[in-house]
Amino acid sequence: MQGLIFLVVAATSGFAAVRLVTNKNLVHAALYLVVTLMGMAIIFLLLTAEFVAWVQVLIYVGAVIVLLLFGLMLTRAQIGKTALDRQQRWVAGPVALVLFGVTAPVLWRFFDGRTISLDRQSGNTEALGTEIFTKFVLPFEVVSVLLLAALVGAVFLAKKD
C-alpha cells in the first residue's frame, strides 16, 4: 500500500520536475516546483520523517516559493511564453541522461534488497530536538550565524541607495 502511494507521488513529482525545466512559461515553472516540493513532503511523511516533512512545507512551499515568485515578478516575468532556451540544451540533455543512466543502475544493483523500516516509534520530534541540541549544537549555531550573514547580505544587496 505504501509502495503504491510512493509510486504515484514519485511519478507526479518527477513529471512536475521535468515540466519545470522544459517549460517556457516562467510562473508555470514556479507552480510546477510547488507540486514537486509538496510531492517530496508527502514522501517524507511516508518515510515517517514527520517533522522534516512539515518543515519542508513551511519553509520551501511557504517561504522559498514566495521568494522565487517575488524574484520572477520583480524581474518582469511576462505572461505567456518567453524566448527559447540556450543552445546548450542539446549538450545538457545527453549529459543529464548519461548521468542518470550511469548512476541509477549502479545504485539499484548495489542497494538491492535493503528496505526502509517504516515502523518508527512515536516521539520523533522530541528525539530529533534532543539530538540537535545535544549532539549537533555546533552545526546548529554555525547555521544560525550563516542565516544571519545571509539575511544581512541579502538586505544590503537589495536595498536601494
Partner: protein, 337 residues
C-alpha cells in the same frame, strides 16, 4: 460505551466529513454575525430584511448574488492559474481544521506536530495571493499581490514564535497535549489556561492572526475597493466570493479555534464542577470569544499603512515575541509550572 462508539471507523469517517460539511454554513453564519456586531457597534441595525428575523439570510443572499453574476476572465490573463486561485486559498485555510481537538478523542487526526502543521498550512495561502495578482495581467493587481505577500510573510514569524512559546509551556507540539497541559493547573476548582502566563504571547498571536488574514487594521493589500481590492481586482462572481470572503472567514474560524486551543484551554471546561457540559460546547464558546475580539478590533482601529505595518512586524512584534520566549523559558524553570 462512548469510547466504543467513537472508535468505530464509520463514526470517525462521519466526524471527519461532518467537519467539512460544517465549514460552509459556518462561513455564512460568521459573515452575518460580523455585519450585525459591526452595525451595533456603530449604533445602527445592520441587515434586517433578508430572511425576516434580523436578516439572518444576508450572507446567503450575497452568495446567491455572487453565483448569478457574470464570470469574467480578462483576455490576457493566464486562464489555468487564474481559475485555480480560489481553491488554493481555501485549501490553505481548510487544512487547519484537521488538528483542532473538540474533545480528548474528537479530533480528525491528532498529529504529533500539530502546532507546526497549522503554521505550515496557513503559509500555503500566500501562494494563492501571488498567483491571483500575477495571473490577472493587471499591474495594480500585481502590486497589491506583492504587498499582500510581503505582509503575510512578515507576520508569519510572530505567529510562529508565539506558538513556540506555548509549545514550550506545554512541552509538546500536539494540540491534545497542550489542552491536557492546561488542565493540569487547577486553582480553587478553576482550570487555569495558559492565558495569564502567556498574555504577551496572546496579544502577539491576535495581532499576527489579524494580519495573516489581511483583516483591518492590516488590510492595506485589500482595502476593499479603495485600493481596487488589490490582488483580486479582476475576480468576479463566485470566484471572488470564494477567494476573498470564504477563504478569509474559514481562516478566521480556524485560527480562532487554534488560538482558543492554545491560550484559552480548548475543550477544557472552566470549572471542575461544570465537566458534564461536553467539550465541543466549550471549544465553540472560546472560539466565539476570540472571533468577537477579532471583529471588535476590525471595526475599531484605522488602517495601518504598508510601511507602518512592516515596521511594526519586524521592529516591534518579533523582538517582543523573542522576549516572550525568554520569559517562558524562565517560567519553566520554576517548580510549579
Amino acid at each position: 460505551m462512548i469510547a466504543e462508539i467513537l472508535g468505530n471507523g464509520y463514526v470517525q469517517l462521519g466526524m471527519k466529513l461532518g467537519v467539512l460539511m460544517i465549514l460552509l454554513p459556518a462561513t455564512l453564519a460568521l459573515g452575518w454575525v460580523e455585519l450585525k456586531i459591526g452595525a451595533h457597534m456603530q449604533a445602527r441595525m445592520g441587515p434586517m430584511y433578508p430572511g425576516g428575523f434580523h436578516g439572518w439570510a444576508q450572507t446567503l443572499a450575497d452568495g446567491i448574488k455572487f453565483v448569478l453574476k457574470e464570470n469574467i476572465i480578462p483576455k490576457n490573463a493566464d486562464k489555468s492559474v487564474f481559475s485555480m486561485v480560489p481553491y488554493v486559498t481555501m485549501l490553505g485555510a481548510a487544512l487547519i481544521y484537521v488538528v483542532i481537538p473538540a474533545g480528548e478523542n474528537l479530533v480528525i487526526e491528532n498529529l504529533e506536530v500539530g502546532v507546526f502543521y497549522v503554521l505550515a498550512a496557513s503559509s500555503i495561502g500566500v501562494i494563492g495571493v501571488l498567483m491571483a495578482g500575477w495571473a490577472s495581467a493587471n499591474k495594480y493587481s500585481m502590486m497589491g499581490a506583492l504587498r499582500a505577500a510581503a505582509q503575510l510573510i512578515a507576520y508569519e514569524l510572530p505567529l510562529v514564535l508565539a506558538a513556540a512559546a506555548v509549545a514550550m509551556m506545554a512541552g509538546s507540539l500536539s494540540l491534545v497535549d497542550i489542552v491536557e497541559g492546561q488542565k493540569q493547573i487547577v486553582l480553587a476548582g478553576f482550570y487555569i489556561p495558559f492565558l495569564p502566563f502567556q498574555i504577551i504571547g496572546f496579544v502577539i498571536f491576535l495581532i499576527a492572526a489579524t494580519a495573516e488574514m489581511t483583516r483591518p487594521p492590516f488590510d492595506m493589500p485589500v482595502a476593499e475597493a479603495e485600493l481596487i481590492t488589490g490582488a483580486f481586482t479582476e475576480y468576479t462572481g463566485i470566484r471572488f466570493a470564494f477567494s476573498l470572503f470564504a477563504a478569509e472567514y474559514i481562516t478566521m474560524i480556524g485560527l480562532s479555534a487554534f488560538g482558543a486551543t492554545m491560550f484559552l484551554g480548548g475543550y477544557a471546561p472552566l470549572h471542575t464542577a461544570l465537566e458534564f457540559i461536553p467539550g465541543i460546547v466549550w471549544l465553540l464558546a472560546k472560539t466565539g470569544t476570540i472571533l468577537f475580539l477579532l471583529i471588535w478590533i476590525r471595526w475599531t482601529f484605522p488602517r495601518l499603512r504598508e510601511d507602518q505595518l512592516q515596521k511594526f512586524a519586524w521592529k516591534v512584534l518579533i523582538p517582543l515575541s523573542l522576549v516572550n520566549i525568554f520569559i517562558t523559558g524562565a517560567l519553566k524553570l520554576t517548580p510549579w509550572i
